[in-house]
């Protein structure tokens, strides 16, 4: 029996609905249709009245979730695509993210964002939004890379008393499979060493973790052992694990699917350079998508964001520095 990343997300939601009467799911097409990505398939039937269709109103969807959270519920809202969450951006960053700081009343809302690119999806169904949300204080931003993390981190997201932006990678939905659900997991806030190494550290998150692992494999015959760190959450960032890894290897390459300006890769490098300057044997490097909207044509899309091949090329350059 194996399950996909998407099925793990569905399982986590079922688990949450089952165990906590305060949980409900709200979003477009999540009810009988089971969601545009089928993340809530059958849940409306299994949990009648708790998986509800909303109008196309991202602002009101998030606002309603905040109100419900004030009233003690634990809403999970599904944005159909991360790209559309911008319509609800105001409610996320100004309503949900400021409530606790302004009033001491926590806001336990989970916003599920299907994010990241898949071939042919184009500019408005491929965006990575974690940067913008991580920037605003008051939010927790999670980016699970594995089936197991998709499950355990979503469960933990629902339990966390703060607004969580849960970034699920659409490419991983069906491409990633695992044998079974985990019985225990690293807590949110801890990064994972996805691959131990010696010569260089690659810090990545979400789908890019898999590209990085692929790149690391390609470098083995050349005599390099590359360590890959899966951040798991980009707000907070587990700086300690990253720093310890760079302490071991002395070289850092950060990879992100998001755009170059600012972002997770810039944040990691800023932290390592200012807090761990003496750990670096070479200038830290980063690899991001090209600074354009995400293209539609598969040829363009394949070149737009980092791939295993691009990572190996960057890694070789860094290893030879």
């Amino acid at each position: 029996m194996s399950l996909t990343y998407l099925e793990a997300i569905r399982e986590a939601q079922a688990h949450a609905l089952r165990d906590d009467p305060r949980v409900f799911i709200y979003g477009q097409d999540v009810g009988m249709f089971g969601g545009a990505h089928k993340a809530t398939k059958n849940l409306a039937t299994e949990f009648p009245g708790r998986v509800l269709d909303s109008p196309i109103s991202e602002d009101a969807i998030i606002g309603l979730a905040v109100g419900a959270a004030i009233e003690g519920m634990r809403p999970i809202v599904e944005m159909q695509f991360a790209d559309f969450s911008t319509v609800g951006f105001n409610q996320i960053i100004n309503q949900a993210a400021t409530l606790f700081w302004r009033t001491n009343v926590p806001c336990p809302v989970t916003v599920r964002l299907p994010f990241g690119g898949t071939s042919g999806s184009g500019p408005f169904h491929s965006q990575c939004m974690e940067t913008v949300y991580a920037h605003y204080p008051g939010l927790i931003v999670l980016t699970p890379a594995t089936v197991e993390d998709a499950y355990s981190m979503l469960l933990e997201a629902v339990a966390i008393d703060d607004p969580v932006i849960f970034c699920e990678h659409k490419f991983l939905y069906y491409h990633l499979k695992a044998e079974k659900l985990p019985s225990e997991a690293l807590p949110v806030g801890k990064a994972r060493i996805a691959r131990e190494g010696r010569d260089m550290t690659i810090v990545a998150y979400s789908a890019m973790v898999h590209e990085a692992l692929e790149a690391a494999k390609e470098l083995v015959p050349e005599g390099w052992e590359v360590e890959v760190v899966d951040l798991r959450s980009v707000k907070p960032i587990d700086t300690d694990t990253v720093m310890a890894s760079v302490a071991r290897t002395g070289r850092l390459l950060c990879v992100g699917e998001a755009w170059p300006w600012g972002g997770v890769t810039a944040e990691i490098i800023a932290r390592v350079t200012s807090e761990g300057y003496g750990l670096l044997d070479a200038p830290p490097q980063r690899l991001n998508a090209k600074d354009t909207p995400v293209p539609f044509h598969p040829n363009l899309w394949a070149a737009h964001r980092p791939t295993a091949r691009a990572i190996t090329a960057a890694a070789r350059k860094l290893l030879r520095l």
Partner: protein
């Protein structure tokens, strides 16, 4: 003290309209004099940032607050000083928000009209107009899950807010979900400096309700009696499960958008018309005419309220300001997930 005379939501409890009217009038008076005080404090540099008054809108706001019950939800907006007091806010807390006291509900982290106590159903607004409506929806929605019935939620908005996407989405959502939402729209004819003619194209704001499938009433916002009647009925209908209700009140803002604004753009013809009447004067004239109070009583109330305000302001001014070095600079409840960046 005014608050001890009558609890909010009196309209339902006592049969006497007179008692309700008197209670509402007292909240209007308190709000007016408190607003004047805030304006004065601002002009003397004691209040930082902006001061936003509700002068001219007290009748509508007080009526709203008085018709709500404890346990209802209220999302007031900029000009709802009267409604907030009627719903249970203390003068001390209002002053604390304006003066930035560390002891206020916002603890200096937000100020002026951005204040509230979410868990008591009194929502602190964010600046983005229309954004609070869906939050009210959310609370009402959650109560359904919790099988709590018989409560309503009021969101106050102005004419400007009705143009926002947030207003549209939230009203639509409330209607689709048949939530007991009452939208009280204070059409004071100007959104900052923008007149109605540049804000919407429908003949009457009330026309918008039809598009959402929402019941609507219009009312003269300068007449306390009419406001009590109309808002009271709208709230009653929502409470009875009739779905969302909208009330559109015509009135005029008798002050600038903020105290930094002189409102010189307001059409003098509007000011001179019925909609430009001072609702406080109208109510006082009514009280006298109905012999529900005499001039001496009114004067005595005024003195009493002024005294109460002075005491409260003095007390709050003695309270400590927030100390940046004592602050826990953390924006999330979950401590172990907070990133504390060491300051150099």
């Amino acid at each position: 003290m005014v608050q001890s005379v009558l609890e909010p939501g009196t309209a339902e409890k006592t049969a006497s309209f007179r008692e309700t009217y008197l209670a509402a009038y007292r909240f209007m008076l308190l709000a007016r004099l408190l607003d004047d005080k805030f304006a004065a404090l601002w002009r003397s540099g004691r209040i930082h940032g902006g001061v936003f008054l509700g002068r001219g809108q007290e009748a509508l706001s007080a009526a709203t607050g008085v018709c709500l019950k404890k346990g209802d939800v209220f999302a007031p907006l900029i000009r709802d000083a009267a409604g907030r007091l009627a719903f249970g806010e203390t003068v001390l807390d209002a002053a604390r928000a304006y003066l930035g006291s560390a002891l206020g509900p916002m603890r200096g982290r937000d100020g002026n009209v951005h204040r509230g106590k979410p868990q008591e159903g009194y929502l602190p607004m964010i600046s983005h107009l229309g954004a609070m409506i869906s939050v009210v929806n959310g609370i009402l929605f959650a109560r359904r899950f919790k099988k709590i019935s018989g409560t309503v939620g009021v969101a106050s908005v102005g004419d400007g807010a009705t143009s926002t996407g947030a207003f549209h989405e939230a009203l639509n959502q409330a209607a689709v979900e048949k939530l007991p939402l009452v939208l009280v729209v204070a059409n004071n004819h100007y959104a900052y400096s923008t007149p109605n003619s540049r804000q919407f194209a429908c003949h009457d704001l009330a026309d918008k309700a039809v598009g959402y499938g929402v019941e609507v009433d219009s009312v003269d916002g300068t007449d306390l009696s009419a406001c009590l009647e109309t808002v009271g009925q709208a709230i009653a209908r929502a409470r009875a499960g009739r779905g969302p209700q909208m009330v559109v009140a015509e009135l005029l803002r008798l002050c600038g958008h903020g105290e930094h604004d002189d409102a010189s753009y307001v059409d003098p013809k509007l000011k001179a018309s019925l909609v430009g009447r001072d609702c406080l004067k109208v109510a006082e004239e009514n009280l006298l005419r109905q012999k529900w109070a005499d001039a001496a009583t009114l004067a005595a109330w005024r003195r009493g309220v002024l005294h109460e305000i002075e005491e409260a302001i003095a007390q709050v001014q003695r309270e400590p300001a927030p100390d940046p070095f004592a602050e826990e600079w953390r924006a999330i409840a979950t401590k172990h997930l907070s990133e504390t960046h060491e300051e150099a």
